[in-house]
Structures are given as C-alpha cells and as structure tokens.
C-alpha cells in the first residue's frame, strides 16, 4: 500500500507478513490524517487568535455537546475496527496450518539451536524450505528469550519449562535475521542467528547431507571445530586471544592445569573438555561463575570431537611454539 512498507517496515519474506503489514499501513494512514488535522487546527488557532492587545476579548464558549459527541464517537468506531482487525489477524498468526513442518527451538544464554525431526540434525541457523509452513516449538533452558524474525513479522517469548509455538511460511529464498527480543543478560545482543530459506530441492539436498552445508565435505576436524566455535556462539563467553570473559579464554587452555572451585587442580585434556560441554556445572574453573548451559543434545559426538581438536590447535603447546 503506497510503498510505505519499504521505508517503515523491513523486507517481506513470509506469508505471515500480510497479517501485520496491511493493518500497520491502515493505522499509519489514519494516524497521519488525525495528526495533521490536530497540528493544522492548533497552528491555525494559535496564529489566528494570537494576542494582539493586552485587553483582547475572548469567547465565552465552554463546550459544545454535539461536537464533543462527534469527536468521541468517530475515534471510538475507528478504534473498534482496528481492534477487531488486529485480533482477527493475530489469530491467523497464532494458529499454524496442520501440515506444517515441525522444528524444535531451544533458546539458551546466548544462542539459538534448532532440532530437526530428522535424526541427528541440530543447527544454529534455521534452515527451512520456501513455500512450506513451518511450526516452531520453542523452549528456553534458562531465562526468558524471545524469538523475532523482522522479515516474517513473527515474535514469541521463549519460556523455561513451557513450550510456546510460532509459525511462518517463507516466500523468498535468502537469509534473514533472527533476534532475541527479551533481555537476557550479557550476550543478549549477540544472540543472533539467521533463517536460511532454501528452495524445496536445495532443502531436500541439505537434509540428505545430514544438515551439513554444501561444500563442507572434506573439511578438517579443526576447521569444523573453528566453525562450531562461531556458530554455537562460544565466543560470547570464551575468547581466543587470551582476554578473560564470562568464562576462561580458549587460548592456551588445552594442556594447561586449571584450578577448580572445589580446590582441586585438573589437567585440561580431551575428557575434561568433553565433560565441560556435556555437564558444565560439574567442574567449574576457579574465579568464574557457574553459568554455562549444557550442550547435551545440541552437539553430536563428531561435533564435540571437532571442538576438542580446535581447542588443541590453539592450546598450550601451540602457544609456546
């Protein structure tokens, strides 16, 4: 409508945008009209009835029931229309079609993970086929998060110990931002992912490859680990340049001896790293808060091994050299 969308609203890449954009534009036009009316009349009066002499007479008018009735009823009726329209479209946003593809979403400080109904596919970006309804069943592992895709106009809070649902049908291939819109602490603004909309056949290929990106075959385990370090947002807490974050830096970590909160000293080896990923609360390094979420179920064995290999590659031995 009037091309307003291109300025006020982000790109439109889902069938769900129609439930927001039409009403947005309708309200926008109505509000602009009322605003111009208010400002025009105010400026007109302010100019026309500006004080010209100290003793200027003013009108005794103190009200007009007919006028007051008109300006109560007209906005009232318009508001009821907007209410009904908004509720109707909201219900369309709430109720997913029956044949929707179901993907499970987990929000955790500070990353998203997506679990596919196909065995073993767990990703950090949401890969979906174009033109097919997708239903997301979401839960949080810690505090509140909120799943927001501006290009689809969908948003739903993600709550611990309770499932919430949101749906969309992507209409254009491409990559679109996923934001977390419920404040969740240090890494809130880093909790970014993307929706990757593929054509139906590309999506099927992707599923057949077991959720690996095209061209990823033949990569070394270290490279896969390095990739996971980014995709799983390990970097929000663990640096690789020696600076201390929410958690210990990965630089020089492998092969070093770390003091634990329990007072014991431990050698950082393959088993310790594995345990720290699966059960992070068991052995916490001294001086760091016990806040790391478990990655059990969000990383498979191959991926954990790749992360260990990556840590090895930037571990103590390498730094010394």
């Amino acid at each position: 409508m009037l091309g307003l969308g291109s300025f006020w609203l982000p790109v439109d890449a889902s069938s769900t945008t129609q439930y927001v954009d039409h009403l947005f534009n309708f309200i926008f036009l109505l509000c602009t009209l009322f605003f111009i009316l208010i400002v025009f009349v105010t400026v007109l009066f302010a100019f026309k009835y500006r004080r010209k002499s100290a003793s200027q007479r003013t009108s005794p008018i103190s009200g007009n029931h007919k006028l007051e009735l008109i300006w109560s009823v007209i906005p009232g009726v318009l508001l009821v229309i907007i209410f009904a329209w908004g509720f109707r479209d909201y219900m369309s946003l709430r109720v997913p079609p029956r044949d929707a593809l179901e993907i499970r979403v987990t929000g955790v400080k500070w990353a998203w993970s997506f679990t596919y109904p196909v065995d073993g596919i767990v990703t950090t970006d949401l890969v979906v086929p174009e033109g097919r309804p997708v239903k997301l069943i979401m839960v949080s592992q810690d505090v509140l998060h909120s799943f927001f895709v501006p290009a689809f106009r969908i948003k739903q809070d993600v709550v611990p110990h309770r499932y919430s649902v949101v749906w969309f049908e992507a209409t254009k291939t491409g990559n679109y931002n996923i934001f977390c819109t419920e404040y969740c602490g240090t890494g809130h603004s880093q909790m970014l992912s993307q929706v990757k909309v593929l054509s139906g056949s590309d999506y099927q290929d992707w599923i057949d490859r077991g959720g690996e990106e095209a061209g990823s075959a033949g990569r070394s385990s270290v490279d896969v680990g390095k990739h996971l370090y980014k995709k799983q947002a390990c970097y929000t807490c663990h640096s690789i340049d020696g600076t201390s974050g929410v958690g210990p830096t990965f630089q020089g970590l492998y092969g070093s001896k770390e003091k634990l909160e329990s007072g014991d000293e431990i050698l950082v080896d393959d088993n310790f790293i594995r345990k720290s990923i699966i059960d992070p609360g068991a052995d916490v390094t001294e001086g760091f808060p016990p806040v790391m979420p478990t990655y059990k179920g969000r990383l498979n064995d191959k991926q954990i091994t790749a992360l260990i290999d990556y840590l090895k590659s930037i571990g103590t031995d390498k730094v010394k050299n």
């Binding site: 005794p60 008018i61 009200g63 906005p75 927001f148 709550v159 110990h161």
Partner: protein, 528 residues
C-alpha cells in the same frame, strides 16, 4: 515575609511542615535524579553511536540502561509532578493553609530519601542489570544487587502511597467555601485521579517486589520455574501496578496542560466536565489493561483480546482531552509565553505518543513491534514528550509564584525550541528503526540500523543542551531575575490571589470562591 524567608537555617527546611517547602525539597530531589538518569541516557546513546559494542562492555551497558530506566521511573517521573508542584499548589489552589496531614507529608519526603539511599547503595555496590522491569527468572538469578534495588522501589512506593492519601483527604476536606467540585481547577482533578491510583495500585508492586526478594533470599519459588514458580506470573503482577503507574505519570501532565492553555489563552476550558471525567475514566480503565504488555508472553489469546479491547477503550478519553485543549484555543487570546510554547509542544508530542499507541494496541501489529525501539520511542513520546514537557512548562508557569522571580523569556523560548528539536530527532528516528526490527536493550546491533542510531544520538545531545540551558537560566533568575508581579499571567485560580511568593500559611484570610477557575475578565459576557 514569605515562606522562603519566614524561617532561617538548615533545620527550618529539614523539619518544615510547610507544604510549599516540602514541595521545593521534592523538586530539588526529583530534578537531581532527572539529571542523573539523563547522564545514564547519554552514556547509552554514546555506546549506540556505532554498531559494534566498543565503548563499554556489555555488562556496563546493561547496567546503564537499567539505571537510566529505574532512576527515571521510580525516583523521577512517578513522584515528579504530584510531589513537587502538586504539593506546592494543591493547598494554594483550593484555598487551604496546608495539606490535611503536614507531618505525614514530611514523612513521605523522608521515606523517599530512604528509598533513594537504597538506590545509591545499589549503584555503588553491585549495581543492577535487570532492566527497570525486573523480569524473572533473570532477576532471580543475576549476580547484581536486585534485593537492594527492589527494596528501594518498595520503600519509594510507601512515599507514593502516603502522598496519595494526603492529597485525597486534602482535596475532599479542605476546599475553600464555594469551591465546589465543578469549580476545581483541572490540575486538581488530575492530581486527585492520580492519588487514587497511587493508593490502589502501589501496594501490588510492593507485594510483587517483596515476593521477588523472598525468592532470591530464601529460594521459595514464586517466579523461577526451576524451583516451581512461574516467570509469566511476575509479569502479570508487575504490570498490574506498572501500567496504572503510566497514568500516575501522565495524568498530572494532563492537569498542567489544562492550566497552561487556559491561562495563556485567557480562555475558558472547552469541555470542563469531559476533561475532568476523562481523568477519572482513565484512572479506572487504566487498571484493566496491563495485559497489553504481554501479547507475546504466552498469555491466552482470549486474555489478549480482552486487554486489547480495553486498551482501545482507554484511548477514547485520552483523545477527548487532546481535542478539548485544541478547541480551547479557538477564539482565545494566545500569548506565546514559554509556558504556552511548552503546552503547544505537548500537544504535538503527546499526539504522536498517543497515536503510536494505537499500533501497539492492535494485537497483530504489536507482535511485530513488541520489544523493539518502536515501543521505546512510543513511551518516550508519552513520558518525556508528555509528562516531562508538561512538568517543565508547569515549572515555568508557576516559577514566579514559587520564587518571586521572572526568568528571561528569550532564553526560555530558545531552551524550549532546542528541547523540542532535540527530542524529536532523538526519538522519531527510534520509531523508524523500531518498525524496521531493531530490538531494544541491545549493546551492539546489525549495521543496517546505524544511521537511525546516529540521528538519535545527535538528537540526544541537542536535547541535553536544551535541558542544561533551561537549568542555567532558571537558576540565574533566582538571583538576578526581575521581581515577579503578583499575577504575571492573569490567572484566575486561587494560587494567583496569594502573595508572590506566598506567605507561610498561604492566605491572610480565608478565600471564598464565587466563580469557576477559568472565568477570565477578558471573556465576553454570555449572550444567552
């Protein structure tokens, strides 16, 4: 011998029972916190100049926006107009010697100071990073000083309740002979409606925050789902207070605007009954709309529908007020004094704030806009463009009565202009980035929003400059300003009959009221 010079010394202020002095002490306190909250706002805007989180760490940034919000809401805007101007003006406007309970009045100031001390403690030891909304389960788990901050807000609540009770009794029982409810200045109606909300809603916040403290201190699960609580329940409790609190913030602003427009246009208010009744209607319906903060929280669709409908119901009385103010200008005698400029700025800014609320009340559209900068812009247009602009306008309007001095009109107009331009630049750009998807409370952001953030940051500097300029010429006027005449604007309500500045017990003899507050001598005789 006026109230400022009647008694001397530090103690005469700290132990004063004079509502005017207590009002001034509140004014100094709330404006100090406005300044402090403003500094945090500028730090936030500075960080957002670039997309990368490069100026402060994420944890520092999170503390800055939390402290900005918490200070502005609990220490500045909730007490702002009622406790300062309200305290000063209510007895004067109704022709009374003081409020009904002067000792309670002083007590509520000390309770306010005690609550503020808890916030200072929070600021210095551990700080706060929950956002001013304290959402669980984050607030039950974070390592910052949530307990001291919530206790501070809890204590401030009692200050608010006591002030509210005091005002209700004062307005009911202490009006001058002849001052019927139909002759009350509209500011008094607005402060009355505000006081009712303060008394009824604040206890709910107190209980909610206490439950949060108990959860954190003793591990009893109310809101934290890992120990059996429900995080969404907190949101219901919190907004059951905090939405009516929005009306605690804005209703006094409405009241001020009714006074400024009538006096500076020397014109009877248009639709007195409708404006007075709409204040009360807003206060009542305002209790039943809290769920519109929770359309995407997971509350039932049915609940969302009811809350959306009631939200639109509250929009009607608000629209009536705006239309009535504009109609009041018709065939008036409009002087472009600083208070009138602020009133006109209010109509402009509050209209944007109110109209953008319609977007957020429509559930489907809110799904997209919720927790984006669109919401941030909306409530700043209402709270700052509305309440704060009305507050500053009110300070200019009653400044001569408060201190017996006139400020420089030219500087005042320049200050108003800078504030108006700076404000719009700061917050209008936030509407655009918000509807384009920029989430709030982000320390870093994707580069496509950079231009809007930069406009906003530039605007915030202009706005800050305007506010500092205003502070400077107002303080200057205290010492070097012209002596104010008894009634510089030609106001008709009772406070203008008192001496300037007023004497210790306001009036030399009991005033008697025989006409309405807006029956200016310039008004032509009714033809009917």
């Amino acid at each position: 011998m006026n109230y400022l010079t009647a008694k001397k010394g530090f103690k005469s202020w700290l132990f004063t029972l004079d509502h005017k002095r207590i009002g001034l002490m509140y004014l100094v306190a709330v404006l100090s916190f406005f300044f402090l909250g403003g500094v945090f706002a500028l730090l936030v805007r500075a960080e957002l100049w670039t997309p990368a989180g490069d100026m402060f760490t994420a944890d520092m940034y999170n503390k800055f926006f939390t402290l900005h919000g918490a200070i502005m809401v609990f220490l500045f805007i909730i007490p702002s107009v009622p406790a300062s101007l309200g305290n000063f003006l209510i007895p004067l406007m109704i022709g009374a010697k003081d409020v009904a309970f002067p000792r309670l009045n002083l007590l509520s100031w000390y309770i306010y100071v005690l609550g503020a001390l808890f916030f200072f403690y929070t600021l210095l030891f551990g700080s706060l990073d929950t956002g001013w909304t304290f959402y669980t389960p984050y607030s039950s788990q974070t390592g910052t000083s949530v307990i001291s901050a919530t206790l501070g807000a809890f204590i401030l609540g009692f200050s608010s309740i006591l002030t509210g009770v005091n005002f209700i009794v004062t307005i009911h029982k202490m009006r001058a002979p002849g001052l019927t409810w139909g002759r009350l200045p509209l500011l008094i109606w607005a402060l009355y409606a505000t006081a009712v909300i303060q008394v009824l809603a604040t206890p709910v916040l107190a209980i909610t925050l206490l439950l949060l403290v108990v959860e954190r201190a003793f591990g009893i699960g109310f809101f934290d789902s890992t120990i059996g609580g429900d995080p969404v329940l907190f949101q219901h409790f919190f907004w059951f207070y905090s939405h009516p609190a929005v009306y605690i913030m804005i209703l006094p602003g409405f009241g001020i605007i009714s006074e400024l427009i009538t006096v500076h246009a020397r014109k009877r208010i248009f639709g007195y009954n409708a404006i007075a009744a709409s204040s009360v209607a807003i206060a009542v319906i305002g209790f039943l709309v809290w769920g519109h903060h929770m359309f995407v929280s997971g509350q039932s669709s049915f609940a969302s529908m009811v809350f959306s409908f009631l939200t639109f119901a509250v929009a009607v009385p608000t629209a009536i007020k705006v239309f009535s103010w504009v109609a009041t200008l018709y065939r008036g005698s409009i002087a472009f004094t600083a208070p009138m400029l602020y009133a006109l700025a209010f109509i402009f800014l509050f209209s944007i704030g109110g109209l953008t609320g319609i977007f957020l009340g429509a559930i489907a559209v809110d799904v997209h806009l919720h927790d984006t900068y669109f919401v941030v812009a909306h409530f700043h247009y209402v709270m700052m463009g509305g309440t704060v602009i009305a507050f500053i306008g009110g300070i200019h309007h009653w400044w001569p009565k408060l201190f017996g001095r006139m400020y420089n009109e030219g500087w005042a107009r320049l200050g108003c202009f800078l504030i108006f331009i700076g404000f719009n630049l700061t917050f209008f750009s936030q509407f655009v980035m918000g509807s384009r998807g920029m989430p709030r409370r982000y320390h870093s952001y994707v580069p496509e929003y950079a231009i809007w953030h930069q406009l906003s940051t530039i605007g915030s500097l202009v706005l800050g400059l305007g506010l500092v300029l205003t502070l400077v010429y107002l303080l200057h006027s205290l010492f070097w300003g012209k002596r104010a005449p008894h009634n510089p604007w030609g106001g008709e309500s009772l406070e203008w009959q008192a001496a300037t500045p007023p004497i210790e017990f306001n009036f030399t003899k009991q005033p008697v009221v025989t006409s309405g507050p807006y029956d200016f001598p310039e008004i032509e005789q009714d033809r009917s």
